[in-house]
Amino acid sequence: MPSTRCLPVGKRPTIAARDPRTGGAHVAVEALGWQPLGRRTPVLHDLDLTIPAGQRVLLAGPSGAGKSTLLRALAGLLLTAGHGEVAGSVRIDGHDVNRRLGGTGLLLQDPLAGVVAETVGRDVAFGLENARVPRSEIWPRVHATLSAAQFPYPATHLTRALSGGETQRLVLAGNLVLDNGLLLLDEPTSMLDAVAANAVRGAIQREVRERGCTMVAVEHHLEPWVDFADRLLVIGRHGEVLADGVPAQILAEQGDALSAQGVWLPGLPAPRPVPVDATLVAPWVDGPQRLVTATGVRVELRSSLADRAAPPTVALAGVDVELRSGQALAVTGVSGAGKSTLVSVLAGLLRPTAGSVEADPALATRRGTRPWRWRSRDLTARLAWAPQSPEHGIVTATVRDEVLASARACGRDTARAEARAVGLLEVFGLDGLATVSPYHLSGGEQRRLIVAATLAHGPYGVLLDEPTVGQDRHTWGAVIGAISAARDAGAGVAVSTHDLMAADVLADDRTELAGGRVVR
């Protein structure tokens, strides 16, 4: 019997406390469709799906297949997240999901999106407050959940002092404190380094096992989930079901077919980089051998706006690296090690607090050889950069303009730039989306678009922050192929990445950072 101990009698039965022995929620999806505003084709079309209580489903598919969309539909939050047309129905334990908001745990890719409060305890308490749990019961439940989740900090710890992985574990605790019968996971580990990802996965699997809740997880890399999941559901590029069944069996019987669809499967070698024509990605004109040299670089960043008394964070301390033509450097290390900062410093975006960042004299502008002093247009012609979150990199209103923006800003020949842009969009599978707004692309598509935008105008140096996140096997091969081709054609490449496979395939040289220092 589902217990209702946390609810005042007669109040909204939206968040039912769940007895672990009865297992999780039962999910029934009928003829589900979703067509967001501004896209000509639906993301989901006529989808039927039944998930028995307590089942652990692993949801896979190529980039842009509508996996995240399906999760939002299961949470009844399609219209919270965007505008568009919904068809069909989703029922959880027999209730229409749109009438029964809440009761479903949801972990998103971006850990920060899940944090609502200043302290750890208050954040976990958020759902209980919404469920009108009296104060006297809130704190015991918060403490019990935190200790059951083996959360390493007390309830008074500040949420902004948590790392990405710790934040994800906090969000998990904040969802589980509600005794949810259904837990939805939207690539919760894709922005984390291997160690943090392991810890988050471990916490999720332990809680799901103990509570017996129903789970639907979207993950690009299936390996760590295959033994844990009862069922593997693979959806294709148009939201159609490609495979559905016991994971091990599907992998044995349909492994090759799924892999050909771009799905990441355990035990397979890295995808082969797609061959890319050098004329699409080569530097516009040949450059010098040594592009940028960083010596003894130290960078301090202000840690908080709200708390000005907080001491600045030392992001880099005494780092020496060199960006060389025809070489690819992979910058690795755990989250917070300073990878993004190092790439930004090489890209001329951050002024070092101490030490020097100097470009080759052949690249000098009127403002000298220090890239952070250059005018924006001069910088673009020499060095390109893609941010870790692609949507921050969007500067125009259509996919096509986005790829051409830098070429226009630094006055490149129009015909040649357009030919390169068209070619790159084709390589990245975005040619059909040229007139769409970049904001309407999926996360993986946006990332490829921003990588294309760093290559189209042929800079000497290409600096990329996590270029492979959210890619399927095909698009991964295209991204790595394009970057390798640029390197082979003489560009200097530096990539900060958690993706060790990408580092293995791409890098001529590696720098591992820890706490802002080079450790290897």
Binding site: A75, L77, A113, R122, G127, E129, A347, S376, A405, R408
Partner: protein, 233 residues
């Protein structure tokens, strides 16, 4: 007095802090000589200064007020008959207005403010929660602004060139920030609704919103600071 109760007196709640910033404003209108102003300002520092935690930050914030006051003083001196007393009075009025806020505002914590607005002033729960969550995301907002500016600079659309260029560039950055933060807010509201916020028309609060002696003390100080210039008058 024990150390503990001293510490408690130094930690007033959010409503009295807001009152401490606003109520003394009423005294500003009564300042009509530089001497009155200086006495008033000294009283402000004496009354509120002991609550300051972050001295350097407070000095920086107050410096902004000093610059504004200096500007007013100079223009009053130039156009107000070159009278030093008049200029000093004008400067003191401005400082009397901003000094309490520069001392007290950093003590305000968004989550506490939310607790008190909802439970003590009975403002609508949903609005309060949304405001607290937005304040919570302020650091993320600043980081977004920096990243967007970096991206625009790297793409050749950065803020250099003449003032017109800069203005246009800032506008474009602001637009991108609006889009990004709306999407961030969208993701955040998905996460909040998944935790039952969508159907929470009234909710409980994990923390109480007590009115403590520290609050009464600060409120009475604020009233005195509002009255002082009128008494000196």
């Amino acid at each position: 007095m024990t150390v503990r109760s001293w510490q408690r007196l130094r930690a007033p709640g959010p409503l009295s802090l807001v009152a401490g910033c606003l109520v003394p404003v009423a005294g500003t209108f009564a300042i009509d000589s530089a001497l009155e102003g200086i006495i008033g300002l000294a009283a402000q520092v004496l009354a509120l200064g002991w609550l300051i935690r972050d001295v350097r930050g407070t000095v920086l914030r107050a410096a902004v007020g000093f610059v504004a006051a200096a500007g007013i003083a100079v223009s009053t001196w130039l156009y107000g008959g070159r009278d030093l007393g008049e200029a000093g009075m004008a400067a003191c009025r401005i400082l009397y207005l901003v000094l309490p806020s520069s001392m007290l505002l950093p003590l305000l914590r968004p989550s506490q403010l939310g607790d008190h607005l909802a439970q003590r002033l009975h403002l609508p729960d949903r609005g309060v929660v949304a405001c607290v969550a937005a304040l919570q995301a302020l650091d993320a907002f600043a980081a977004d602004w920096r990243t967007i500016q970096h991206a625009r600079r790297a793409r050749g659309l950065g803020l250099d060139g003449g003032p017109w260029h800069r203005l246009k560039g800032s506008g474009a950055t602001a637009f991108a920030l609006l889009v990004v933060s709306m999407r961030h807010t969208g993701a955040m509201s998905v996460a909040m609704d998944a935790r039952g916020f969508a159907s929470a028309t009234d909710r409980t609060w994990a923390e109480p919103a007590p009115w403590r002696p520290a609050d009464s003390l600060l409120l009475s100080q604020a009233v005195l600071l509002a009255a002082l210039p009128w008494l000196l008058h």
